[in-house]
Amino acid sequence: MADVPKDSPLRAVQIEALVVMKIIKNSAQFFPTIATGSLVGMEVNGVLQITNSFPFPSVDIPAADGHQDTASNLAAGAPRAKSNATYQNEMIKFLREVNVDANNVGWYTSTSMGNFVNVNMIENQHFYQKELNERTVALVHDVSRSSQGSLSLRAFRLSPSFMAAYKEGKFTTESLQKSGLRYQDILIELPVTVHNSHLATSLLHQLPSDAPKEELPFPPNLATLQQDPNTPQPPLYPNFDSLDLSIDPFLEKTCDLLLESIENHHTELNNHQYYQRSLGREQAKITAWQQKRKAENAARAAAKQPLLPEDEWQRLFKLPTEPSRLDVLLNSRQVEQYARQVDGFTASVSSKMFAVKSNLLPGE
C-alpha cells in the first residue's frame, strides 16, 4: 500500500457478493432509518476491492415519538462518531485474525429514493477521505429503488477540488468563483462491479435448484401440475419484479422530494438576497458616513483645525458575513440526482406502457 503514489486515483470499485448481501440485510433491517457500516478491503491497481463489511452499532435512543429526527440524525452521523471509530478499529483487529483484509476502505449508508446528498454524507466522506489512506469510498444503497427491480448500489468519492474547498471551510461567492467549483463536481461516481468467489458461483448454480434434466412424464391433470415439486422456482436472474407496472408511486415520491428540494433552494436564495440587501444597506451607510466625514474635514481644513481620521468607519460598521453556499451546492446536486432518477423512471415506465399497449391492442 505504502509504495503506491498517493495521487493514483481510484478507477473502479469491485464488491464481493458477500458485501452486497450484508449491506442489503443491514439496510433492510433498519429501513426507514438509515443504516451505516464500515467496509474493508484493499486497493489493487486503481480498483478498490471491497471484500467484507460490518454494520456500525445502532444508536440506542428510546423510541419515543418526536425523537425520530434525532435518531436518524445520529444514525447518519454514526460513521464519524468517536465511539464507532474505536468499534471499527477493534472489529478490524479481530477480522485480521481470521485472514480478512484488514484495511478500512470506506463506509456505506442506506437511503431511500436517492435522498442522500446532504451535509451528513459529505462530512462522513470527508472524515474518511482526509483521515485514512485517502483511497476510500462511500457506498450508497437505495432500499426503495432496489425493492422495485434492479439493485441500486453506487460508489461515491469527494472530488479533490471539493476536498480543498471543504478543508478551508469557505463557500462564499468569491471563493467559488476562484476555485470554479460547481455542484456537479462535488461527488465523483465510480463504476461498481460485483464479483463472486468460486464457491459463491458454485452455490449460485444450485440456487434455486435447476429444472430436472431428464424428460418428465406429462401431468395427468391441472392440480398435479401446480403441485409438482419439479416445477422450477422462478430464477433469480433475470428478476421478473422489474416487469412490475406500478411505478407511479415512485414517480410521485420523487416529485415530492424534488419539490422539497426546490423549497430549500428557495429558502437559501432568500437568505442570500437578505444578505445582499443588508450588505447594500451597510455599504450605503458607510458611504454616507465617509462623505459626512469628508465634508467635516473640508470644513475643519477651512477653519485650520486638525483633521479627523477617515478610516474610523472600519470600527463603527460591521459588514454582515456571507451565508455559506455549501447548502445551495448540495441542494443543487440533490436536485440533479432527482431529475436523473425521474429520467430513469420515465424511460422504463414508458417502454413498459408501450409494451402493454401493443399487447392489448394487437395489430396496430
Binding site: 448481501m21 442489503i24 464457491l199 449460485l204 426546490i262
Partner: protein
C-alpha cells in the same frame, strides 16, 4: 441446496444428566439467510492453508417456543485442530460476540458452523461448548451447521442439534449424539434484487458483473419472457402438427393463463394510455427544466461579480428570477400531480 432429505424425529429418553439441567432436544426448523452462507463460504476461502475446516459462530433469532430458528449472521472464530487436540479461541469468540451484539442487539447466539460435512469427536467437543450453560445457548439446543466446500462438488449443507449420550462421566464432554434437523434457505424481498445481480455473474468467465441500470434489467427480463413464450408457442405448434405429445393438463394451464388477459375496450386503452404517458412525460420534462433552472441559478449566483463594476444586485436579481421560474415550474408540477392522481382514480 440439500433440502430434500426427510427426517423422522424420534423422542428418546435422554442420557444421565442432572435433573433440572435437561437441555431440550425437541425438533426444530432452521431457516438460513443467504448472507450467512456467503459469509461461511468467504471464510472457507480464507482459511489457513494447512487447515481442513474452519469454524465460526452462528447468530440469529429464535422463536419464543424455540422451535423456529433463523440464522441471520455469522462470524469466523479461529481454531486449530491436530490429530490429538482442538483449540478454539474462546476469548475471541466472546469478544466478537459482544461486538456483534452491539450492532445487532436483537440477534442471539444460536450455534456454530463448520466447513466440512464430517462429524467427529472434536465436533462433539465444540458442540458441547456451544450448548453449555452460561456462555452457550442453554437451555436451547445449539445448532450445528455444516457446509461442505469440496471443490468440484455441490455445496451441501446440513443442520444438527445434539443430545447427550450415555457414556462414562469422563468422556461426556467430547461425545454427543448429532440429530439431523430440517433446514431451508430463504431469501426475502429485499435480498432478491441483490441476488439477481450476483447470480447474473454466475455464468461469466470472470465472475464479475457491473451494476445494471433499471432499463438494462428490464430489457433482460423482457428478453427472457420472450424466450419462454417462444418455447411455449413452439411446443403448441408441434402439438398442432402432431409432432409432440399433447397434454390436457398443460393445455388447461395455458388456457387459464391466457384468459387472465383483461378484456378492455380499445378506445379506453387508447385514452388511458395517452393520458398516462403524457403525465409521465410532463413529469420528466418538468424535472429536467427544474434541473436547468437550478443550474442557471447557480451560475448566475457565482458569475455575477466577474462582470466587474459591482452590479451584484443585478446578478442576484437574475438568480431570484431563476428561483421564481422554479416556483412557476413547481406550480405546474403540482397541477400535473393533481392530474396524475385524477388519472389514477379514473
Amino acid at each position: 441446496m440439500a433440502d430434500k432429505d426427510s427426517f423422522l424425529h424420534l423422542a428418546r429418553p435422554l442420557g444421565p444428566a442432572p435433573v433440572g439441567a435437561q437441555p431440550s432436544t425437541a425438533p426444530l426448523n432452521v431457516v438460513i439467510q443467504p448472507q450467512a452462507i456467503f459469509s461461511i463460504l468467504d471464510h472457507s476461502l480464507r482459511r489457513p492453508a494447512d487447515q481442513e475446516r474452519v469454524i465460526g459462530t452462528l447468530l440469529g433469532t429464535r422463536s419464543e417456543d424455540g422451535t423456529e430458528i433463523e440464522i441471520r449472521n455469522c462470524y469466523a472464530v479461529p481454531h486449530t485442530e491436530t490429530a490429538e487436540q482442538v483449540e478454539v479461541d474462546m476469548d475471541y469468540q466472546k469478544q466478537m460476540l459482544a461486538l456483534h451484539l452491539r450492532a445487532n442487539p436483537r440477534e442471539v447466539l444460536v450455534g456454530w458452523y463448520a466447513t466440512s460435512s464430517e462429524l467427529n469427536t472434536f465436533s462433539a467437543l465444540i458442540q458441547n461448548f456451544y450448548g453449555q450453560q452460561g456462555d452457550g445457548t442453554w437451555p436451547h439446543p445449539a445448532v450445528h451447521l455444516t457446509v461442505s466446500t469440496v471443490p468440484g462438488q455441490d455445496i451441501e449443507s446440513r443442520t444438527y442439534i445434539s443430545a447427550p449420550i450415555g457414556v462414562t462421566a469422563e468422556r461426556a464432554a467430547d461425545s454427543c449424539l448429532f440429530i439431523p434437523v430440517p433446514h431451508e434457505l430463504k431469501y426475502g424481498e429485499a435480498e432478491k434484487s441483490g441476488l439477481e445481480l450476483i447470480s447474473s455473474a454466475k455464468d461469466l468467465e470472470d465472475r464479475s458483473q457491473p451494476v445494471m441500470t433499471d432499463l438494462e434489467s428490464l430489457e433482460r427480463a423482457i428478453q427472457h419472457v420472450l424466450d419462454m413464450l417462444d418455447r411455449v408457442s413452439n411446443y403448441v405448434n408441434n402439438v398442432l402438427d402432431e409432432e409432440a405429445t399433447p397434454s390436457s393438463a398443460l393445455g388447461q394451464f395455458l388456457m387459464n393463463a391466457l384468459s387472465l388477459a383483461p378484456k378492455v375496450d380499445a378506445a379506453d386503452i387508447e385514452r388511458d394510455f395517452n393520458a398516462h404517458i403524457q403525465d409521465v412525460l410532463v413529469v420528466s420534462y418538468l424535472a429536467n427544466t427544474i434541473r436547468t433552472q437550478i443550474d442557471l441559478s447557480n451560475r448566475l449566483a457565482t458569475a455575477a461579480l466577474t462582470l466587474g463594476t459591482g452590479d451584484a444586485l443585478g446578478g442576484e436579481g437574475g438568480a431570484g428570477a431563476g428561483a421564481r421560474d422554479g416556483e412557476k415550474q413547481k406550480g405546474g408540477d403540482r397541477r400535473n400531480k393533481g392530474r396524475q392522481q385524477r388519472a389514477q382514480e379514473a
